[in-house]
Amino acid sequence: MWGIIINRFKQGFRTTLSYPKEVPSFPQRFRGKPVLNNTADTPCPINKSKDPLGAVASGKKLTLDMGKCLFNEDLKAICPKGILTYSQDHRLAVSKKKDLILQGEEVKLARALNEKTRKIFGRSLKLREVCAGSCSGCDAEIQAMGNIVFDLSRFGIQFVASPRHADGLMITGPVTKNMELALKKTYEAVPHPKIVIAVGACAINGGPFQGGRDVHDGVDGLIPVDLYIPGCPPHPLTILDGLLRLLGKLENKENNFR
């Protein structure tokens, strides 16, 4: 007993972040929201081979699909002029798939649920996580949200064991053919009203597996999605930011908690 108490003092108090009041600073190399420097007059020659997943599209202006992007360092090499960089902004979650497509710097971050649904879920949201063919990277970050650093439960959000106890699903992975049935059954088991959150490049578009013989290209088309959280895997704070926006607990641009 004394051992436990002494140890408690030795460990000290250096645990939970005061997020969202303060956003911790990310290391310099952290790859957050991509930034397209689209202002240059001469269009930049694009090296397609550096973008095997087709995240960048060149129309009149370059666009980048955050849902297809694995946020990998090599993607920067699509253009020698450095048209693509990553910022340290961790906020990426959006409500509509088309909002994942980036033109410049602005992202249309996720909007809150409608008033009625928010009334139901606002103070207590129970989610069931379904891993549908993910590499487990995204799952590890979802799990990390529950540790003492991020401490998800202080926002009234919890992961539960049964879909019948849940208000919605959080899904990772491209949805393998072998998980399709299990995913649909789990979805059906969640009582109405329900929300669906797709976490990670795989769940949004198939990620590195897109077009594969044994997978679907993400959750869309199988069940309806309410929130897309891009990344590979998204940082725990990116997921948390998405959840808080969905619940209307963060104002659109700033991190004001309400």
């Binding site: 051992g3 436990i4 140890n7 408690r8 030795k10 460990q11 645990t15 290391p27 190399r29 952290f30 790859r31 081979s49 973008d51 095997p52 997943l53 694995l70 946020f71 990998n72 360092e73 090599d74 990553y86 996580e129 379904v130 891993c131 549908a132 063919g133 993910s134 590499c135 487990s136 990277g137 995204c138 799952d139 590890a140 970050e141 799990q143 990390a144 540790n147 003492i148 650093v149 992961f159 064991a161 049964s162 879909p163 992975g173 393998t176 053919k177 072998n178 998980m179 399709e180 299990a182 990620g207 590195p208 597996f209 594969g212 013989r213 044994d214 997978v215 590979c232 895997p233 940082h235």
Partner: protein, 508 residues
């Protein structure tokens, strides 16, 4: 006449025609003979050769000599079968099931011939299990059943209660006692092996990083090492050092995360919370280095994308010293409590004999006193110059597997500190040449779960025509089944945590 023999080493490549082809019978005899003399079946896989033949390769690891013997045999597709090794060599069981599923050839006499991952075969032949390949699993899967009074069956999964990957567990129990556990995976099957043959190099490295999300560095290193070998590309000592540091950071974050999970499972929450925080420290170090908490984008063919500058080295040293002290204090708290010990000791034993028979690898094997570790046995990269002492434990229970994680974490911290002190010079990334035609190469890495093996074969146009990968989980899942045999069903979660195997790595 004596057959000419081919021995290969980790990181080597060799011409395709040098691989000896044996008659089916002598192929089998040689494997059994080598294994009875202490060799280990590191790999057994098939390759459609064209011209109506399937080639089967076997890699037999002589761990103490640091080399592997390579054998092969040819089977005409029309014949469609070969004599199973499994009755005499249990470690072949999953390899043979995999071959049967991938190439629709039957290992005759296999005692438990079932699909592994439930997918269609790779060679447009009729599937061996036409009824199941088109359906979702477990579909019509016949599980092993025990009949009798008071025998009951417990089915768990694929979707589990926690935030974990999907898989189906079928227990046959008598009261609380587990008589048999059959684990059916395949839900995570994404078809990575096959995709590796069809995508560009820019994409295949991204796939390698996504085999198992907690082993990003391990698999990316194995992949890069393999491609570098096939193109005779020698990366700089500095890049080797940075890769090794990342590999050990990955080991640290996972081992410490596992210790936290074990404490949660036995309901001892203070160390669970501290271990959880400490795990984050190591992930954050990886993020400082590579911009991603799991080290994505660090390893690329020809070297690494990120350097460690002087300032970072100082910062890493400082943080590692603090972490070392924390680790000691938290472990002292965890490993000395009698309530913890009484829960861990004697639970989930996998004897040394069974571990060897099943071909277990990694810390799981070392916890059953099998002294194998790729970092010493088949040293690669920086490990050729800096040795990391390996630890083994005798007791072979959950306690042993927990203790392994503590010992290996300590060693990894020491190792990183040592390298940070004298990090060699060199280019971060060098350009690699084209792949050699008609070659085969082998790359092995000791990931945090154990032995990762990647093998590739190129054709006359230097294209990769077969990419075979093996995550340590492939070897070890059967170990978990054996660990809980005869145990109480309530011990299962604890045993499972002590293995913490990858579903994605198994299912590919």
């Amino acid at each position: 006449m004596k057959q000419h023999e081919l021995y290969v080493r980790n990181g080597q490549n060799w011409e395709w025609d040098r691989i000896p082809i044996l008659e089916e019978d002598s192929f089998r005899q040689e494997i059994l003979r080598e294994c009875s003399h202490g060799a280990r079946l590191v790999n057994l896989f098939a390759y459609p050769e064209g011209s109506g033949n399937i080639r089967i390769f076997s890699m037999l690891g002589r761990d103490h000599e640091g080399k592997l013997r390579l054998l092969s045999m040819r089977i005409p597709i029309k014949k469609g079968c070969f004599q199973s090794l499994t009755p005499e060599l249990p470690q072949a069981h999953l390899f043979e099931r995999e071959i049967a599923e991938q190439f629709a050839i039957t290992p005759v006499g296999h005692p438990w011939l079932k699909p592994v991952r439930y997918h269609q075969n790779y060679c447009d032949a009729p599937d061996l299990w036409p009824a199941v390949s088109s359906r979702s699993i477990p579909g019509v899967y016949p599980f092993y059943r025990v009949d009798g009074e008071e025998v009951h069956e417990v089915a768990v999964g694929p979707v589990h209660a926690g935030i974990i990957e999907p898989g189906h567990f079928r227990f046959q129990c008598h009261g609380e006692e587990i008589l048999n556990l059959e684990i059916q995976l395949g839900y995570q099957h994404r078809g990575i092996e096959k995709m590796m043959e069809n995508v560009s190099m820019e994409r295949s490295v991204l796939l390698a990083e996504s085999i198992a999300g907690d082993t990003v560095i391990g698999h990316a290193m194995a992949y890069c090492h393999l491609i570098e070998s096939l193109s005779d590309c020698e990366i700089s000592p500095r890049a080797e050092a940075i890769r090794a540091i990342a590999l050990e950071l990955e080991r640290l974050s996972n081992h410490i995360g596992d210790l936290g999970a074990l404490s949660t499972d036995i309901g001892f929450l203070p160390p669970a919370a501290y271990f959880g925080r400490l795990r984050g420290e190591f992930l954050n170090l990886l993020m400082e280095l590579s911009g991603n908490r799991y080290g994505r984008s660090l390893c690329r063919v020809g070297g690494v994308l990120f350097d460690l500058d002087q300032e970072m080295i100082k910062d890493f040293q400082k943080r590692l010293l603090v972490a070392r002290k924390d680790l000691k204090e938290i472990c002292d708290l965890f490993f000395t409590k009698s309530s913890v010990l009484s829960r861990l000791e004697g639970t989930g034993i996998v004897s040394n004999k069974i571990a060897k028979e099943l071909g277990l690898v990694g810390p799981t094997a070392r916890a059953s006193s099998c002294g194998l570790d790729v970092r010493t046995d088949y040293a690669f990269g920086l490990y050729r110059f800096h040795h990391i002492p390996i630890s083994t434990v005798l007791s072979a229970d959950v306690y042993a597997r927990a203790l392994m994680r503590r010992l290996e974490s300590q060693r990894s911290i020491e190792f990183i500190l040592e390298i940070l002190n004298q990090i060699p010079d060199g280019d971060l990334q060098i350009k690699s040449a084209a792949l050699k035609p008609k070659h085969m190469a082998l790359s092995m890495v000791e990931g945090w779960r154990g032995e990762i093996v990647h093998v590739a074969i190129t054709d006359a146009h230097s294209r990769i025509t077969r990419y075979k990968m093996k995550d340590p989980s492939f070897n070890n899942w059967m170990g978990l089944s054996m660990a809980v045999r005869g145990a109480q069903i309530s011990d299962f979660p604890l045993c499972n945590k002590s293995f913490n195997l990858s579903y994605a790595g198994h299912d590919l």
